[in-house]
């Protein structure tokens, strides 16, 4: 990575746009399908946002629904349930950031230090597997293990020890969903870090070892600095996505812990928007969420640049 940086600094002046366009023609052509996909499925639907300023009725259609200006937002900001779900979202996001985020990095480092190829592949497969389970299945497993009638509690019950139904306890719900997320997604999350690890020049390790650096020193001075760019990128993305903590996971467990513990912004939009037929209200909640996310993303990216990292793009 450091070599790439010095190369870039060595390049004399910025090339003119036309020359760069000609140079990157084939690369740009290759991005067209992705750009079209993005336009059609991410940008075109943005048009639907106008419903947030209407009293939208699907039968009447976007063209003829009544315009209500900012009424939906006014109602939204006066809705204690909305703030409740906002609070839940932010709280869960913080808990996940602290407890979830470091785990894939640690796992990647751990896996990287396993020398046996076969052992490594085996561990990797075991770690990846839960990612391919649906949330329904993952949560069923949790319910069967930790639920009130699950393996753990039946064991406790049969031995006359008090039971603890963690699956329906709203007070520990944040820890529960985070541990579920770790179980299901942490393994998958290591891929990007493993890729970054494999990009570190092995000669650096050899040279450091020849200079007498031990295991920890090599990790501290070579591995971690090598990972720093990717970690910062993931952190920026995570912060930008702070208001998206998941949907299905909460949808499924909503009745288990109660709506005021489990509602996050996305489920709020679903239940109080779509399910109640109040589409405009849901759209308003969604739009508000997007705006806040945009701000967060921008802020996190600025922060990354301030620390001298690339963030989402090079400054």
């Amino acid at each position: 990575m450091s070599t790439a940086r010095s190369e870039r600094r060595a390049s004399p002046t910025r090339l003119s746009r036309r020359i760069r366009l000609r140079r990157d023609k084939s690369l740009l052509l290759m991005t067209i399908p992705a750009v079209v996909l993005l336009l059609v499925f991410n940008y075109a639907p943005l048009f639907g946002l106008v419903t947030a300023f209407q009293s939208y009725d699907p039968l009447v259609g976007v063209w003829h629904s009544d315009w209500v200006g900012l009424d939906q937002f006014q109602a939204l900001f006066g809705d204690p349930l909305f703030w409740e779900s906002m609070k839940n979202t932010l709280y869960l996001s913080c808990v996940q950031l602290v407890l979830f985020f470091p785990i894939p990095i640690a796992l990647a480092l751990l896996l990287n230090s396993v020398l046996s190829e076969r052992m490594r592949n085996f561990i990797q497969s075991v770690l990846y597997l839960p990612h391919f389970f649906s949330w329904v299945l993952a949560l069923t497993i949790f319910q069967q293990m930790l639920g009130g009638a699950g393996l753990l509690n039946q064991f406790l019950r049969q031995h006359g020890i008090g039971t603890w139904d963690i699956m329906t306890d709203p007070h520990t719900f944040a820890l529960l969903v985070t541990s579920q997320a770790i179980w299901k997604e942490a393994g998958w999350g290591i891929i990007v870090f493993l890729a970054a690890l494999s990009a570190i020049n092995t000669e650096l390790y050899e040279a450091a070892a020849a200079d007498g650096a031990g295991r920890w020193r090599r990790m501290w001075h070579i591995t971690l600095p090598g990972l720093r760019g990717v970690v910062m990128l993931m952190l920026v993305l995570r912060l930008g996505n702070a208001l998206s903590v998941g949907f299905e996971q909460f949808l499924i467990q909503r009745t288990a812990v109660g709506h005021d513990a489990a509602d996050v912004l996305d489920t709020f939009s679903f239940y109080y928007g779509i399910a109640a037929g109040n589409y405009s209200y849901g759209a308003a909640a969604g739009l508000f969420k997007s705006l806040v996310s945009l701000l967060l993303l921008w802020g996190a990216n600025r922060l990354a640049h301030a620390f001298g990292e690339d963030g989402l793009y090079r400054k």
Binding site: V40, A44, F47, V50, S55, Y56, D57, P58, L59, V60, G61, V62, W63, H64, S65, D66, W67, L81, Q143, G147, G148, A149, G150, N153, Q154, R157, Q158, D165, M167, T168, P170, Q253, R254, T255, A256, V257, G258, H259, D260, Y271, Y272, I274, A275, A276, G277, N278, Y279, Y281
Partner: protein, 559 residues
């Protein structure tokens, strides 16, 4: 008319979006869309739209129908299946047209183009593409089709979601008016449709025009029941006669729960039990004024009882965790002994699943309870048909006639050749006769047993469970014992549809969420009261005013 995105539609969608963006600034000028009609019916208009009734020469039932109050009667019971089913329709009714149909399905979706679909298409003489959609999310799937005006040719809309679909307005704008085809004597061209009870047709009339075809019409629209494992309760020496009130029911909790063995007395019962406390299903009319369920004392008493149940330790922890999907499994395995449910659960498939888990399996249901255990039991009737199918307004008159002929085939009475085909498939492929009883083959279990075609049109309900006569006898006896308790609630079988914001108010999502939390023991009754008072001051008041002005004052309560 597929609902998938094909290339042409994909491009036209893109074009219309581009147009939409360009025109966006003009939009603020127009608007004013919600001046729609309620879709309610005047009594004379309703009369003119309804088809004539022509009783069919159906088979004589083994267990005759018993009449109760309020036009209710038990469904006829059959213990045998005719050896040589008679045809009611000559030749395939269709003329080779191609159509798509969407129906809700609670279960595994059969393979597209499977052998049963093919056989049905051949028998019907049409190319009907069935597209069953997930029943649990059906009320969120359909609005996406209606908003895009991309409804299939034929669709089933469950009546309990009429507020979500805004069915009255939808009928007026996107469904075919069947009045000229079916009203009065016009229906006689379709004798099987003419044999459907008039009350059921009423559920398909909107704004004095007939749009819907009723499926599973019944004269016993029971509100569901509090089921129990009759075999296991009897082994404890408990019979229906001993359980008269919610208090009696609660007493069973201690007796039947054995948590160490993983057995709890109760699963969810709220939905099917709260009216027994004397609470209305949704509305009651008091001195000419509307009173909502949430405003009644009986509702609070019901909540209090359910909260106590949830916190008593007599309810299965998975039920408290909101795992409704595995309720059947718990019931079959004897992990719960009492569970609320719709009456549709009392059928052959249930019996077979139950017996597979426990050879002694026998489903029972408590008779309708009363709050004090002494007064006359009351159960509010549901709609005479809650599954209604509609045709697309884009169809031409001869296409409508073709599909009505298909509907006539599908509505053939119990035991006829067409009924056999629709419900059991082809003999030798989908079913075999075992001791004279049509019994599904594996192919039949896979593709026929899931309800698809009957959600487009079906004959009046009968109780028949070939191969499981104990089910027919038990269920018939329960209906007969409870038919006298059936009462029509306000607005019974009256169609009306509401604007979006009123439908949202009626959904009362925040209150209903809190109710669920309460009967799962996570919220106190006082929390529900707080949610109700918030609702009442805003949405609730709007809902009541709208209902009073647009329905009650204009059309009455229909009682």
């Amino acid at each position: 008319m597929t609902t998938e995105l094909n290339r042409r539609r994909f491009l036209s969608a893109g074009a219309s979006i581009a147009g939409a963006v360009a025109m966006a600034p003009l939009l603020s000028a127009c608007g004013g869309g919600s001046h729609q009609k309620t879709g309610a019916n005047t009594s004379s208009g309703l009369k003119a739209a309804l088809p004539a009734f022509l009783s069919s020469t159906a088979l004589t039932p083994d267990i005759a129908s018993v009449t109760g109050g309020a036009d209710a009667a038990t469904d006829p019971g059959f213990l045998s299946y005719p050896a040589a089913p008679a045809a009611t329709v000559s030749g395939p009714p269709g003329k080779g047209g191609s159509y798509t149909a969407v129906t809700p399905l609670w279960g595994t979706v059969p393979q597209p183009g499977n052998s049963f679909y093919q056989a049905m298409n051949k028998a019907l003489g049409v190319n009907l593409t069935m597209k069953p959609a997930d029943g649990n999310n059906y009320h969120t799937i359909v609005p996406t089709m209606t908003a895009a005006k991309k409804l299939p040719d034929w669709i089933n809309l469950p009546a309990w979601w009429n507020p979500n679909f805004n069915t009255g307005e939808l009928a007026r704008t996107q469904f075919a008016d069947l009045t000229p085809h079916l009203s009065g004597d016009n229906v006689k061209k379709y004798p099987n449709l003419a044999a459907l009870p008039t009350g059921a047709w009423q559920t398909g009339v909107w704004g004095d025009k007939l749009y819907g075809i009723p499926c599973f019409a019944t004269t016993f629209p029971g509100p569901g029941g509090v089921f129990h494992r009759r075999d296991l309760l009897e082994s404890h020496g408990i019979t229906n006669a001993q359980v008269k009130s919610p208090a009696d029911l609660m007493n069973l909790g201690k007796e039947l729960t054995d948590a160490k063995r993983g057995v709890w007395a109760f699963d969810d019962v709220w939905t099917y039990l709260y009216p027994s406390f004397g609470a209305p299903v949704k509305w009651k009319v008091d001195n000419g004024k509307l009173v909502h369920l949430f405003e009644t004392q009986e509702f609070l008493e019901a909540l209090d009882w359910h909260y106590r149940l949830a916190t008593s330790g007599y309810m299965h922890p998975d039920a408290l965790a909101g795992d409704g999907a595995n309720q059947g499994t718990r019931f079959y395995a004897g992990k719960v002994l009492i569970a609320g449910g719709g009456l549709g659960a009392w059928n052959l498939a249930d019996y077979q699943s139950g017996v597979a888990a426990d050879p002694n399996y026998r489903r029972g249901a408590f008779d309708i309870l009363t709050a004090d255990g002494k007064s006359t039991p009351v159960a509010y009737m549901g709609a005479p048909s809650s599954m209604i199918s509609y045709l697309n307004a884009d169809l031409k008159p001869d296409q409508i006639a073709e599909l009505l002929a298909v509907a006539n085939y599908l509505a053939a009475p119990y035991g006829s050749a067409e009924y056999t085909m629709t419900n059991f498939g082809v003999e030798g492929v989908h079913h075999n006769r075992v001791n004279g009883v049509p019994t599904f083959t594996d192919e039949g279990k896979k593709n026929v047993q899931a309800t698809t075609f009957p959600f487009l049109s079906s004959s009046s309900s009968v109780i028949s469970n070939p191969g499981g006569d104990v089910v027919t006898k038990d269920y018939s006896a329960w209906q007969a014992a409870n038919v006298k308790a059936l009462v029509k609630p306000p607005f019974w079988a009256m169609n009306y549809s509401m604007p979006q914001d009123i439908a949202t108010a009626e959904a009362a999502q925040a209150v209903n969420d809190t109710i669920i939390d309460c009967y799962h023991g996570k919220k106190k009754v006082s929390d529900v009261q707080a949610a109700v008072s918030t609702w009442k001051s805003g949405q609730g008041a709007r809902l009541k005013r709208w209902m009073t002005e647009n329905v009650l004052d204009k059309y009455g309560a229909g009682q």
